[in-house]
Assembly symmetry: C2
Homo-oligomer: 273 residues x 2
């Protein structure tokens, strides 16, 4: 047993979709969440910068006593997961591998579509994991950058959203995929639109898969919490005007314990603003 918190970081508040699933599956775990809202989005930044920011986020979560770290950010997982794992004294999982495992399990044809931000798709991170786990699978990536803005604007069922989703997904449909993997924190909120347009194919929500993987890992390492109810503490590097409204859309519950924090480079310590 170990009641230290699970640390989760993301470039912003989209990663709260992952926290939502962790809290559903592991209601006894304490969670410390760090959203690097002052520097979001990561998806438009260079690899070097994303690695640097990811290491700073890791250091912050360690300073808060994290026993296990979940990278809820797809951009960060795409380009920085291995280096964070190498430098981190506690185990680290990203959001890509658990989704890929599940997609390979549910796909009949092995023809799988992946949607995400441009960086996630063009980094080749998904292809790499797919081919590592199943040489015969065929992965078709499709960057869908506008969907992030649509979700943040709250236009989950606007006619323009359906039109944009159609534009993005039509090529995947024509390619005959039988499984669609959602490779971005924001996309679970568009599941209804995806289903309307893509019909009866399989959908894989990686937020759910990473939470199941975390559950198995905490059990295997014998570090599950026995707290009666898990606390959630949220740190953001900047508090924007409407972070609460958008954040609660992702988290699915009120955001009660939120603080702004300034990040220092690893080793310098962090101070709460």
């Amino acid at each position: 047993m170990n009641n230290a918190p699970v640390g989760v970081f993301d470039s912003g508040i989209g990663g709260l979709t992952v926290v939502r699933e962790i809290r559903r599956i592991l209601p006894h775990e304490n969670i410390v969440y760090l959203g690097d809202t002052a520097r979001l989005p990561y998806g438009t930044k260079s690899v070097d910068v994303i690695i640097q920011y990811s290491l700073e986020n890791m250091a912050f979560l360690l300073s808060r006593g994290a026993k296990y770290i979940v990278i809820a950010c797809y951009s960060s997982t795409s380009v920085a997961l291995e280096i964070v794992q190498q430098r981190c004294p506690v185990p680290v999982i990203g959001v890509i591998r658990p989704g890929v495992k599940r997609a390979l399990k549910v796909s009949g044809s092995g023809k799988i579509g992946v949607i995400g931000t441009s960086l996630t798709i063009y980094s080749g991170a998904y292809e790499k994991v797919f081919h590592e786990l199943s040489a015969g699978s065929e992965v078709i990536g499709r960057p869908c950058p506008l969907l992030v803005s649509l979700v943040e604007e709250g236009w989950l069922d606007h006619p323009a959203t359906r039109l944009i989703v159609e534009s993005y997904l039509k090529p995947l449909q024509e390619d005959g995929i039988d499984t669609l993997l959602l490779g971005c924190t924001h996309f679970p909120l568009l599941m209804e639109v995806f289903k309307k347009i893509m019909g009866t194919i399989q959908f894989v929500d990686a937020s759910h898969e990473v939470s199941k993987e975390l559950s198995r890992e905490l059990e295997r390492l014998d570090i599950l919490s026995d707290a009666s109810t898990g606390d959630l503490v949220i740190y953001l590097t900047d508090l924007s005007m409407n972070f609460k409204e958008i954040g609660e859309r992702f988290l699915g519950e009120p955001m009660t314990n939120v603080s702004r924090v300034s990040l220092k480079k690893a080793g310098e310590g962090n101070k709460k603003a």
Copy 2:
């Protein structure tokens, strides 16, 4: 005469629409442009953070010898213009006032719509300048955050773009505005869609107005350049995957002289990466 450069800064590369107009109106001026791409967008950040970043951008342009500074960023102009003007040894103009002046000049009814990011609109900066210059004007602001992403995606004439522009502008149309002021660097690229939807009203592109104002000011201060052709040097705090493709869309000419630069806090000096 003074051949020192005009300094222009923005949170990203959208401000190159302002540079494009400056180069059209003032082809002999040397220009140093700073795009803070590592920390964009500013529109989702808090006022304190935007002020801090704006002062750092100012310090960088001064270190490059700027004789005059143009804040091409609407978020920065909205909340940081006055403090930058107070701390800056050379004159500074923002993108808001020149557009407001022009809108008041061309509007018959004084009923004027302004579109921009959420921060620009909700900051109240436009209302403040409008009422300062004309107490009787009626300004109706409308945040249009999705339009930024649509322009960056290059969907300038997609059916979804028309649908989204319609959703945003319909309330302004119903309110009977006779003039629409574009309060965001990205919006001049959507002018055709705006015209199709809004019909025969007047449009004010602040990128053009700020360049005319700059021209008058350089002449008044007798610091116009007499270089045979003006150079453009571009510094970005991060070079993302597709910055060149998107940047050239804004600038309207090839981006030839681009360097990555690391910003230090004012007083620490800057180093080119």
